[in-house]
Symmetry: C2
Subunit: 292 residues, 2 copies
């Protein structure tokens, strides 16, 4: 964020209908290898176009996993292309399992295999990963072992309509289930604060619930918030920044379809890459204008 | 379970050190393609040996995902081999995301793509999948769309040591976070009871917390419990059956290393498949003896 002057994160969540017509090959959307190849071409061009204009990119694992082994290879290629473009990568897989299994997920996301006792493997090479805190520290801490990665974002308050079904349930001590996760995030980050003043145990806090973001910030003063839900999910710049610290730091705002799919709502004849770049510039400007 | 007379589920969680020496090829454990090929050979032989002696098998996605695209292909091959052996498959990925993303995960697990508007894709072909309820119904119900699958198991009380950090937190209305998930599971399963008397919205309830399993059963009277933690994680047969209904139904008990890795603790010279089959027979006998 300091290097690029942007607090935007661009989601790389490709779907067949988001691939611009000019990049569509002869294979149909039921040809997994053809779809995966189109995703890599799309991502590669987009990454080159947005380099230097965003703090990070965030591929959503599900969009690749849906296409099986070719999809997984496309995800690995995407992480590599992002690094070649000088962009940090948050792999958004929201994994969560018991410790010995979490070690395998960490290996898949980051590479290496120290906790399994085997030789290192390449993995996806992610810098950060999203994780689910439902299984507790057995899961989350496995991703932080040996400092082989930049850090994790633990799901606290997610951006979706039904997130409150569990996350808003009230506790006997006051607060909500999301608060309980926030307290765990704060505890897991204890002693892990870097020179930025933030820890490497961050939290996912959706742009669509700004009041809760403000409340959760008091519980996690030193956590980076990854803020999805901006744009197509209905969150605006003010909502996305609700969880910022008093010093203005600590929020990374993510938009997926709003940037990758910008060509779909651009005027006829607009180059798709220009549409994406413009959408990202507009997002940066809106976030700067709304910054506290 | 009715067809085989067994309530055992065999975990297919391969690791390089669990591959019997006779199946190890010339590639080392840092050669992802060689490891993946060994996993498929191991699983294929094991599946043929245990067919008819267990109700289901449960491959753990992380163990395959750690080996990238070849690992993912090995997982797909494993599901196919299980079906060829006539065994139902629970793909254990514990996925959880917002609705449009969950649709991609459902596509990856089960195949098909109706909710994405595209043509059907093969996917892994799972019969059941484990899912994480933290994001609410947006996630869980996406896996039940169009009845394209047998059902899901939602994480309620997991078997690992730190599961209580969040799952045991007390609510203002009494009960715990795991109880709140159990109430959601019961609501999601409403109207979905089959001829067995059980719904297709099940719950993961670890063998290591029998008292909680009994309490959670009262909240989820019609849910199938998938019970991990038997054997190597410390759960015994009585603990594993603690969540059974009064009619004795409703629990499916899973063991992973205990069956696949049985050769490691068998007497010198024992065939590895005999060791696995014996371990499964012993597990079935222990569960039958402890059955209420």
């Amino acid at each position: 964020m300091d290097r690029t002057g942007s607090i935007a994160c661009v989601g790389l969540d490709p779907r067949p209908d988001l691939v611009p017509p000019s990049l569509r090959g002869p294979g149909g959307p039921d040809d997994a290898a053809a779809v995966a190849a189109a995703f890599v071409e799309l991502n590669g061009l987009l990454l080159a176009a947005i380099a230097g204009r965003c703090a990070a990119v965030k591929p959503q694992v599900a969009c690749y996993e849906a296409y099986g082994a070719p999809g997984w290879a496309a995800l690995a290629d995407t992480v590599r292309l992002a690094h070649e473009a000088g962009i940090e990568v948050i792999v958004d897989g929201k994994r969560g399992d018991i410790g010995s299994t979490a070690a395998h997920y960490a290996q898949a996301m980051f590479g290496g295999a120290p906790s399994l006792g085997g030789p290192p493997l390449a993995g996806l090479g992610a810098d950060w990963a999203t994780v689910n805190g439902y299984l507790g520290g057995d899961n989350v801490l496995e991703f932080l072992r040996d400092d082989r990665t930049q850090g994790v974002f633990v799901l606290a308050k997610t951006s979706n309509p039904t997130s409150g079904e569990l996350q808003d349930v009230e506790l006997s001590t006051g607060g909500t289930v999301a608060h309980a996760v926030a307290e765990l995030v704060h505890a897991w980050g204890n002693g892990r604060r870097g020179t930025s003043g933030l820890t490497d145990v961050g939290a996912v806090v959706g742009a669509t619930y700004p009041e809760q973001a403000r409340a959760l910030r008091t519980v996690m003063p030193d956590a980076m918030f990854l803020v999805p839900g901006y744009g197509s999910q209905g969150g605006d710049a003010a909502g996305a920044l609700a969880g910022a610290r008093h010093d203005g730091r600590g929020v990374l705002v993510s938009s997926s379809r709003g940037v990758m799919g910008a060509w779909q709502s651009a005027p006829e004849g607009t180059d798709w890459l220009d549409a994406s770049r413009t959408a990202l510039d507009d997002m940066n400007a809106a976030l700067t204008a709304a910054h506290p």
